[in-house]
């Protein structure tokens, strides 16, 4: 590693990290409740679900695809898990175990089906997952009979409220998922293939690989992460509802894009996605604390998303200069 390549790799995440630190400092200075243990714990709780979904979404976007169905798939997975927990009269340990498995498998299947359709008929994932968005939502409403499901085992609800040194359990789960994501993308053959396919699928195919397989797996990962996010959501809310998760896909995509991952695929990182999700969370919480209304907050969030991408183009130009 020479200085140039070190600078380059620092540049990749440093920009977003710096933005996050700036935001935190800004809010800390403007409101004395922001940097309290309870508020930070609150923020961590809030960003966990988006972090998990965005982690899965990163795989799909790195391939140049997109998954618009995650919000609906989250609802369907939650409903499926909730049904398993409440309707079969299983002992609570078994009920929880099967519910978690059920949610994750349900999400994985939805993702795998979307991915398989994209690859089999060569349709852009935008369209296929738009279809899946409706299918999953409809199915969720059907399965739950449009009702809220509650009455989860006590131990399940209690686990969701737990914290370790004030850190919410579901945030720890999210961090573990992010770490697994980083390792998979950076250290494994599969991760290498994701970047390679995102850059040039035909070269990968003609080098003796089967890109379709890797791509379907990526959608399955995204779905599986969404299923896990559904479990986390149930832990937080202690209910499941077929209209959960509306618009979650946009938050996840925003986190990935703010994190510096290119929508064209091939460039980006899991750490970036995590920082992107943090920025979204801190922004939402901070703006609320300093007393801005819902509408203004939405406007500012929109501006930040666009600003992040603009800044990212400058960053990559600088990076290109260093490489030249």
């Amino acid at each position: 590693m020479n200085t140039k390549s070190i600078t380059r790799s620092l540049l990749k995440e440093a920009g977003i990290g710096l933005a996050l630190v700036l935001l935190v400092v800004l809010f800390a200075l403007s409101h004395d409740k922001f940097l309290t243990v309870s508020n930070i714990s609150n923020i961590l709780q809030q960003i966990s679900i988006n972090t998990i979904i965005a982690a899965g979404m990163t795989f799909v976007i790195l391939l140049g695809g997109i998954d618009l169905s995650v919000g609906s798939v989250l609802a369907l997975s939650a409903v499926v898990g909730a049904k398993i927990m409440t309707e079969f009269g299983l002992p609570s340990d078994m009920a929880i175990l099967f519910a978690v498995l059920g949610s994750v498998i349900c999400g994985t299947l939805c993702g795998a089906i979307s991915g398989a359709i994209c690859e089999k008929w060569r349709i852009h994932s935008f369209i296929v997952t738009l279809g899946m968005l409706n299918i999953a939502r409809g199915t969720a409403l059907e399965v739950a009979d449009a009702r809220t499901i509650f009455g989860f085992p006590m131990s399940f609800n209690a686990f969701g409220a737990q914290t370790i040194f004030h850190i919410p359990v579901i945030f720890i789960v999210a961090v573990v998922i992010v770490i697994i994501g980083i390792v998979v993308l950076k250290k494994t053959v599969y991760g290498r293939m994701i970047y390679a396919i995102g850059n040039n699928e035909e070269s990968v195919r003609l080098s003796g690989h089967n890109p379709k397989f890797y791509k379907i797996i990526a959608f399955a990962i995204c779905g599986g992460a969404t299923g896990l996010a559904a479990v986390m959501y149930m832990l937080r809310l202690n209910i499941a509802n077929p209209i959960l998760g509306v618009g979650f896909e946009l938050n996840a995509i925003a986190a990935v894009v703010i994190g510096g991952t290119s929508l064209f695929g091939g460039k980006g990182s899991m750490l970036g996605t995590f920082l992107g999700a943090c920025i979204m969370g801190v922004l939402g919480n901070g703006l609320l604390l300093i007393g801005l209304g819902d509408f203004t907050r939405q406007i500012i969030t929109g501006v930040v998303i666009i600003l992040a991408v603009i800044l990212d183009t400058y960053r990559s130009r600088l990076e290109a200069k260093l490489t030249e």
């Binding site: 494994t188 003609l206 080098s207 003796g208 690989h209 089967n210």
Partner: protein, 496 residues
Amino acid sequence: MPILLRTENLCKSFSGVVVLKDINISFEQGKCHVLVGENGAGKSTLIKMLCGAYTPTSGSMYFEDLPYQPKTSRESIEKGIRVVYQEFNLLPQMSVAENIFFDDLPRKKCGFVDFKKLYSQTQKILEKLGLDISAETIVSQLGIAHMQLVEIAKSISRKATMLILDEPTATLTPKEIERLFQIIIQLKDQGVTIIYISHRLNELKEIGDNISILRNGAVIKNCPISEVDNNEIVHCMVGREMENEYPFFDDVKPSDVMMEVKHLSTPIVKDVSFKLRRGEILGIAGLVGSGRTELLRAIFGADRLSSGEIAINNQNVHIKNPKQAVKAGISFITENRKDQGLILDFEISKNITLSTLNQHQKYGFINKKDELSSSESYRKELSIKSSSSEQFVRFLSGGNQQKVILGKWLATKADIILLDEPTRGIDVGAKYEIYLLLWELARQGKAIIVVSSDVNEVIGISHRIMVMSNGSVSGQVARADFDPQNILSLAYKNYL
């Protein structure tokens, strides 16, 4: 003849590295000025400064004796300087006519495009160039050679004082090259100055008036082309004598049959059968579009077969996709490096291990050390000019990019190696290294197929030549009977 454009002590450096130093060249009006030099000698950089894409670090340029400091390519276009790059700038989903007149579409009074006028104007230009394609053809349906000619048509459709052609003949067949040369002579008569970049030394004398030879960013020689011969040009370019353009080793002899292709057909290839032996270099000649690339792709499983069989070591194999081809011991070096071979934004090391990553992993985790040492050994073996294995492939020259691809396939230790235009757009020195490498592989008992549009190249390095014409094999020629005339007439056989 008056001087149209001249450079005075032109220099260019990138982040402190000098790429061009003290370039003094005068381009005479109405003359064809040939620019030669190995890849990385600085030809492209010079061109980019002439057309305003790069700003010189120091030195100056004069256009018709007035200072000329283009800051954007628009300024150079206003002067009538037009460039046809090696990489096309066409809009693939639009028609030939729309591409040619894209900046200046004829309009009706109401502002809508006047398609009638557009097509008739285009047809006129196409006829002038002797191109028998319709103005309404969608560009993506054209072969690569036709795309090249459309690029040229585009650049001369408007006012041009200077036409810069970067390797225009790399993809053209002899007949098309002849037509191109006629066009160039026509343009010269109209007073257009031509700058012509090519690695094919034999064609330079046909159309060139003056020559500038570059090496390592400096002009080594600047003179009328009649004053130098090919040997001297090569000597100036590489700084050493090249004994023989095409190496051939008598002691490497084909042995037993490695692969047999039986009645292979695809929508384009018709009933092709041939045998390939260990230690053999089989050249495939033919016109662009005669099905050579498609044949290789079908063998490699990149396209589906309609019928036919392939046997390797006397065993029938059913290759349905490239993955199975690699397993069966086949390598395929594609014609289009950037789109079908490399991951441009990956490092050299990652590109070299792209096909063999499974050898450098345990439980799915990449052994980085192992990967680096393996790729480093290929980087050294192939002498890929680069600062380290961590350098991005995008910034390598064409010849070095090709070596990276060769490294990737050498790593698979495949027995059958298919190469499609392996030396296209590559400088003399790197070409020679690639030929030597092919011979080394043949000596190891590998079976090699080389597709090339350069008849001299196929003749120079093959044991045997198979000629394709309009999708089928029009003849197989043994080395003793090699003759350019004969091969060309075979190439045209099925079109007549």
